[in-house]
Symmetry: C2
């Protein structure tokens, strides 16, 4: 608990308009996309790095937790105040400071909404590729903290690949610059990439320098239907074998298709067991040829149907349906645990058979969709919280899934991070010496453990 004296000090620091302590006002900051809920003691709205520095100095002195928060759209609980304390809302860090078409960089405060930045850079015919499904509500800071991916990662990579430098406030209050504003730089340890994906546990990032690229001249969206997930993912390998790297290569299984069927804007044959959404972009003549080649490959690999979106609106409808899958699967059961596993592309068919067997074994619905081009599958285990016989099984299902994924040389999280919800499983993937090394790194940044405690590490520190 933060004492009244400390709350008064925070109020003096930030002004009464920038601190919230009323219980009703705190509720929106208690939860995120995980649907879990932990009440903070207060929420602060700092206006600049100096404010954050002062807050962190006070937090060290008084030993209360500080939890940075972007759009609250995280899927592993990174922004949840699990031990109470002060939520640090980055809402006021909402300025795009620079978009530079010659040096191909943007300088952006971390509270900027990802889609807002994308729209601004596209006005200058530039492109910022990372596109998590929550793009309209998530922030650049949250994307950086979680190293967010998205649909276009197959071709363009993830958030990490676009962060060149940053301003960050260390847990002990020092404000540092890391990285560069140029295309290259190798000065000292790569603090920039260490902070990318550190889930708000090592520093509070206040602005970032992002790399931009030219906007692709054209885009083509296609959809292929298959009888089975295995046939669909074998097609993904086949596309790769032909040296084509699409912009996006998304999979939905039968359960997911059923949940968004009405949104796709076309009738699908009932025997359709899997769907691939495929996008290519770039030079107009080239995308035309690639699309033709992909059509051939899909049909040769046993696609039941293949459609090319002829209009922008048709394509947008498909992508909108894809982005809605995560929410739509609640039609199946009231609750879900959503995993974010990755396996090598060549082992997706094996994973798919495994998921079928797993669902049968535990008598639970398991819906799979996601970034098949990366081997990154979002596995949704559906259940009802009020049915204890279902709830009891979920952890064991997750553990079986992770064991399989790791045996297949995969990873337990492709783009959602570890945060709170995956922390109990971290040691399935990482060895004790590696986790202990990470704990020493945490200590090097945050000796009192005040910044976002209770995240990532499986053992209570």
């Amino acid at each position: 608990m933060i004492s009244d004296r400390v709350l008064r000090e925070l109020t003096n620091l930030l002004g009464p308009e920038n601190i919230v302590t009323r219980r009703d006002d705190l509720i929106p900051y208690a939860s995120d996309a995980t649907h879990l809920s932990y009440m903070p003691d207060a929420v602060a709205f700092p206006g600049n790095a100096q404010d954050i520095s002062r807050i962190l100095v006070l937090a060290n002195q008084e030993e209360f937790p500080v939890i940075p928060r972007g759009g609250g759209s995280g899927k592993s609980g990174g922004a949840l105040p699990v031990r109470g304390g002060l939520v640090l809302s980055m809402d006021r860090f909402n300025r795009i400071l620079l978009i530079d078409p010659i040096n191909l960089i943007a300088k952006v405060e971390t509270g900027v909404i990802t889609s807002v930045l994308q729209e601004e850079v596209e006005k200058l015919d530039l492109f910022y590729p990372p596109d998590p499904a929550s793009i309209k509500i998530c922030t650049i800071g949250g994307n950086v903290a979680e190293n967010a991916g998205g649909l276009r990662a197959v071709k363009y990579g993830v958030t990490r690949d676009y962060v060149l430098g940053m301003t960050a406030v260390l847990p002990t209050g020092e404000i540092i610059k890391a990285g560069v504003e140029t295309a290259k730089g190798v000065v000292g340890y790569d603090l920039t990439r260490l902070l990318v994906g550190s889930e708000g546990t090592l520093a509070v990032i206040t602005d970032v320098i992002l790399r931009l690229i030219p906007k692709p001249a054209s885009t083509r969206t296609m959809m292929a239907l298959f009888h089975t997930v295995s046939a669909a993912v074998e097609t993904v390998s086949e596309i790769t074998r032909h040296k084509i790297i699409p912009t996006a290569l998304e999979l939905m299984d039968r359960l997911c298709i059923d949940c968004v069927r009405s949104e796709l804007g076309m009738s699908l044959p009932p025997q359709c067991g899997a769907l691939l959404l495929i996008e290519v972009d770039g030079d107009k003549a080239l995308t035309k040829r690639e699309a033709e080649r992909i059509r051939e490959i899909c049909l040769q690999s046993g696609a039941m149907e293949f459609m090319a979106a002829s209009r922008k609106r048709e394509a947008e409808k498909l992508w909108e349906a894809r982005r809605n899958v995560s929410a739509a699967v609640y039609k199946l059961r009231p609750d879900k645990v959503s995993e974010d596993v990755v396996v090598p592309r060549s082992r997706m068919a094996e994973l798919s058979s495994f998921l079928d067997a797993l669902g049968r074994k535990y008598n639970l619905s398991i819906a799979a969709y996601g970034h098949a081009g990366d081997g990154n599958i979002h596995v949704n285990i559906l259940f009802d919280k009020n049915a204890p016989e279902e709830t009891r099984k979920v952890d064991e299902v997750v553990r079986e899934l992770f064991r399989k994924v790791l045996e297949a040389k995969g990873t337990i999280s492709g783009e959602h991070g570890i945060g709170l919800t995956k922390a109990p499983y971290l040691d399935m993937e990482m060895s004790r010496p590696a986790i202990e090394l990470m704990a020493r790194i945490k200590l090097a940044f945050d000796p009192k453990g005040i910044l976002n405690p209770g995240k990532i590490f499986p053992y209570r520190s």
Copy 2:
């Protein structure tokens, strides 16, 4: 000094055939591409990660320095045993363990020569883009340790962008896996990217998982001549403004041109003051159009001449000449200090005028060449070690250069690292809190400071 007792222990550990202590045999391991020289006490040739683990445990116990070494082609002294100790040659880690065309990865031991890996992957129509000029002698491990760049970084990025995961031996002896074997992964802190570019000071990396991409279908090489460096670098900005990202966009100034004139295989007009070597790659029709567009842009921007290499051999000759510049500038003076600065693309003309004035002010020849597409210019300050009036000036020239580069929002090292030779200047770019944070990270890995001491940090630890 490593005592005879400890040398006997090392010999027992590795076998007498894998340890060298005779002074004559040590000489090749005393220096690198910096031409500096520091004698080690011994050189070890470990055969696997367990060997390295045992050596490091012994080094902690007996407190002697261990210095990992790849090809010895580093330009900042990263492999030099400045405090004596044991050089750890990675020569025996020379196996390519896997090239997987479906999952687009290679698994490689870190002693593999970079060009050997490239040739092997190209046999499968795959591509590993990073291409430092030392490509025929440098190793993947050295590239990873220094985060090496190269000519193709403009379009394809640097070594960091291709490392997905690794096996590393911590200075305290634990063998860890970091990162993933898949396209994506966000499990725990990004130890992989922290180790990339850590210059052999945090861990000994024994194998890496590298990302591959499809081999571009075609390549076109062009050369444009300009009266001045300013005109050449303005053309670079102009190409970017037209949303073309060439594979390589290399600059040579008049002094560099003079040094490789005979190797270019064509006569250049005497009034030629700068040269751009330009490469585009990808789809055949697209590269043809891009090459035409680049020709127009060059001529509109005042190029004196523009030539397209019509044959592969002609293009190879140009690139060979480019790779030889670093050595060829010794024709001007017997010694040089080679800097590796980066400025924003838009400020290269300003840097060029500054270098002219700097050379005049100090009456020293300054030859500039490098990766203009990235703003990454290798500035060679030429002098004669035996002329004290020249030697005295060099450090001041470097400091003036770095002040200018930093004022222009640039960085003092784009791809060569800090190592030994740039360590005295680190605090010109990084603040004290950032350097102290790095020192705490070093301590978290290497509490006794046995791994590659005397590198990166400007203060003696």
